[in-house]
Symmetry: C2
Subunit: 178 residues, 2 copies
C-alpha cells in the first residue's frame, strides 16, 4: 500500500498508538489500513470411493488437479462459499456435509476450510475455471499432478478416514518455502 484508499494521500508503515504491529497509516487523514488473513473455502466432493477433482484452467498451477475452492466472498457463510466455489468449478450442486479440514498457511496469510460434500447429480462438467472435471479414486489418483500442498494432504487424510468410516475434523499448518 502506497496511498490512502480514503483520501489519496501517501501512507507510511508504522505502529499505531496502542497497537503492537506495523500498519499502513495515512500521513494526512490518519486512517489505519488493516490487512488480515483471507479464508479459502472448498469441498472434497465425493461419490462412492471417488473424489471429484478439477484441472485448473487458471494460473497459478494451470493444468494441475485440485479440489474445488476459492476465496470466501463478503456476505457469505463459509459453507455457502464452499458450495458456490464447487458449483463454479464443477458445474454441479453438491450436498454439503461437515467441516473436515482446516489448513493454516500463515506465510501467505490464508486459512483453508474444506467441507465434505456429496456429488448427487451427474451434471458436472468443465467450466471457465476448470479444463476438466473428473472422479479419481485412491488407485488412479494423479498424485504427481496435484496443484497445491494442501491437496494431497486432504485427499490422503480422506482415504485413510474412509477405511475407518470416521471423518473427524483435523487442522494442519503448511509452512511454505519463502
Amino acid at each position: 500500500m502506497k496511498y490512502c484508499s480514503q483520501c489519496g494521500s501517501k501512507t507510511e508503515r508504522k505502529i499505531p498508538e496502542g497497537d503492537n504491529r506495523e500498519r499502513d497509516c495515512c500521513t494526512s487523514c490518519g486512517l489505519i489500513h488493516y490487512t488480515n488473513p483471507n479464508i479459502i473455502v472448498g469441498t472434497i466432493p465425493i461419490k462412492d470411493n471417488s473424489i471429484l477433482l478439477c484441472k485448473r484452467a487458471i494460473e497459478p498451477r494451470y493444468g494441475k488437479w485440485t479440489l474445488p475452492g476459492g476465496f470466501l466472498e463478503n456476505g457469505e457463510t463459509v459453507s455457502h462459499g464452499a458450495f458456490r466455489e464447487t458449483l463454479e468449478e464443477t458445474n454441479t450442486e453438491v450436498e454439503m456435509g461437515e467441516l473436515y479440514s482446516i489448513f493454516n498457511v500463515p506465510q501467505i496469510n490464508q486459512v483453508y476450510m474444506l467441507y465434505l460434500a456429496r456429488v448427487v447429480k451427474d451434471d458436472f462438467s468443465s467450466t471457465s475455471e476448470s479444463l476438466e472435471v473428473e472422479f479419481y479414486n485412491e488407485e488412479n489418483m494423479p498424485w504427481e499432478e496435484l496443484a497445491f500442498p494442501f491437496v494431497p494432504i486432504a485427499i490422503k487424510n480422506f482415504f485413510a478416514d474412509l477405511k475407518k468410516g470416521e471423518f473427524p475434523l483435523t487442522t494442519h499448518t503448511i509452512e511454505r518455502k519463502k
Copy 2:
C-alpha cells in the same frame, strides 16, 4: 474505497471482466481491489465449571462482558491467534483445546472461530483491553450484560455440552439487524 492504494488515482465500483461481483477498480492502473471476510479468533477459557470472561475496556460495547477474541493477524495460525487474543485480554496463557464454535456473521463479513481452552494459571488480570477479568459459572453468569449476540449462544452451548460431557463443533449463522 475512493483511491487506488497502489497509484493514488480514483477507483470505481464495477464488475471486472470474467468476474460476477462488483469490486473497487482503479481507473488508471486497472488494479482490482478485493475485500473479503475477516476471521475473528477467540476462546472459551474454562476452569472446572466456570468460564473466564472479560469486561470490555474498548468500544463497541464498552463495559459489557465478552469471551476473549479479536482479529486474526497476518502470519498467524487460527489457534495461535486465539491464544494470543486470550493472553492480550486476560493476561493468562491458556492451554488450547479443540475448535468448538464457528459463527458466520455475513452482514458484517466476519467469521468467528472459537476454541475451547483450559485456564491453568491464576495469573489472569485486567488489561488495557479488559476492565475486569472474572470467572462466571452458569448460575452467576451476567446474561443481561454480555457484549455480542454470539457470546450467549456459545456460552449456553458450552454449559449444555458440559452436562453431556461431549463438545462437538457446531456452526451458527447470526443475522444482524441492518
